[in-house]
Structures are given as C-alpha cells and as structure tokens.
C-alpha cells in the first residue's frame, strides 16, 4: 500500500467512525465531541485532495465556529447541573432501512459509473479560488455576504426577549 492509501484509509475510517458515534451516541455531549473528530477527518481528506485553502477553512469555520455554536446549543438547552444529557430515539428500524438503502444505492452508483478523468495536478489553490471569487463567481460571492448579514440579524432578532411579553 502506498503512503497515500494509508493516510486515506486513516482519515476515512476516522471520519466515518466518529460520524457513527455522532449519530448513535445517546449522550449529546459525546456526539458534539465526536463531531469534532469528524470535522478533523474531513479536513484531512481535503488535504489529501489537494484543497489546502478548504482544509484551513474547514478547521476555522466548522471547528472554530459551528461546533462552538452547537456546544452552546447543548449547554443552553439542558440545565448544567442535569448530568444526564441523554436524548431519545424514535423510528430506529425504519430509519435504518432508509439510511442503509441510501448508502447502498449511492455507493453502487459511485462504484459502477465510469467517471470522466481530468485529474487536476495538486497545486496551491488559494490564489486561484480568490480569482474565481472576484471574477466568475462575483455575484454569488456578494449574495453570500448579504445572506450572512441577514442570517446574523435574523438570529439576533429571533432570540431577543420581547419587553412586552
């Protein structure tokens, strides 16, 4: 096995195993910390795919932002002195059938299809992504900035305590 294969299987198994812990763990705080491992595994896959900028973005935004936000959600929706942060499960059989069927279909599709192969030679991507943002993708880029502003203001408006209520 080449070095690339070893590193790929390492990160792939880390990602999938910790994602399984996220979904199957009955304690919410364990799920949150397993999600950390999943994000790290995905960042490792990005590095293997030659996406250096995205790997750094993944660590900064997912681990530094979204995961911290989710931890706040865990802490604020449970009483801190309530050590039993367990969550309930419903419809486990039908959920397993749907998810298993989806995985089989998607994996069979990925393995059976003849994908066109125009491999990109791995090279630093930051400059190229920046040029695309300010060139071909300028309109979506600006729309995304408006979306972020609206989302932040909307989130602040929703959680605000009303004086009159």
């Amino acid at each position: 096995m080449s070095g690339e294969a070893v590193v790929f299987w390492l990160f792939a198994s880390l990602t999938v195993a910790s994602a399984a812990v996220v979904v199957l763990s009955r304690t919410l705080i364990y799920s949150a910390f397993a999600l950390l491992a999943t994000f790290f595994g995905v960042a490792g896959l990005y590095v293997l795919l030659g996406a250096d900028f995205l790997a750094a973005t993944q660590l900064l935004i997912y681990v530094g932002g979204i995961l911290v936000l989710l931890l706040f959600g865990v802490m604020l929706t449970h009483k801190i002195y309530d050590l039993d942060l367990r969550t309930e499960t419903t419809q486990i059989a039908s959920g397993l059938i749907v998810a298993g069927g989806l995985f089989v279909i998607l994996a069979a599709l990925a393995l059976k299809t003849e994908w066109p192969g125009v491999a990109r030679v791995p090279a630093p991507t930051t400059a190229g992504i920046g040029r695309l943002f300010l060139g071909d993708y300028l309109l979506p880029f600006e729309a995304a900035s408006v979306l972020l502003l609206v989302a932040l203001m909307g989130a602040a408006m929703i959680v605000r305590r009303r004086r009159d209520a």
């Binding site: 979904v23 997912y62 989806l102 125009v118």
Partner: protein, 101 residues
C-alpha cells in the same frame, strides 16, 4: 491507488449516517449535528470531483458556498431551538406541535 470512487463511498457513508440521525433523533441539537454531517458529505463530493473529474477549482468554490450556508443555517436554527426551549422547556422536536390544528 486511491481514486474518485473511494471518496464518493466515504461521502455516501457520511450522508447515510446523517440521514439516519435526522430520522431517528428527537433532540433538536442532535438533528442539527446530523445536518452538518450531510453538508460535509456534499462538500467531500464537490472537492473530490474538483480534484479527479473536473480538473478545475469550481468544486472548491462551491464547497466554500456550502460552508457559508451551513454557518448561517446553524446560527438561525439554534436561535429557533433556543426560542422553542424558552417557550416549552424542552429541546424535543416532537413537543413543538403548537401549530397543530
């Protein structure tokens, strides 16, 4: 030799696990975590296609947009969950049934 298919299968596994969590969990924060898994699997697919099939950086640009949408989604969704918790003292989605006729 690691190819496109390997990454697609890993992404399919992530996606299926996310769907499983989405369907079987009752806690709203847990459901949000499952949605993050699904968005991550889409991102892995986009970056893998950008590396092996398209030969350009378009997939990575789209992955950045997915991350932006994920960030705003989790902010608004957590605001809704916290408001629900303040209103009903529970994070369970099944108890959010006050719109039921």
């Amino acid at each position: 030799m690691i190819g496109l298919q390997h990454y697609l299968v890993v992404a399919a596994a992530l996606f299926a696990l996310g769907v499983l969590g989405l369907l079987t969990r009752r806690n709203a924060v847990h459901v949000l975590m499952s949605i993050e898994l699904i968005l991550n699997s889409a991102n892995v697919n986009l970056v893998a296609f950008s590396r092996y099939a398209a030969g350009n950086l378009g997939g990575q640009v789209f992955a950045v947009f997915v991350i932006v949408v994920a960030a705003s989604e989790v902010a608004v969704a957590l605001a809704i969950v916290l408001t629900l918790y303040r209103l009903r003292r529970t994070p369970n989605l099944d108890d959010a049934d006050i719109l039921k006729g």
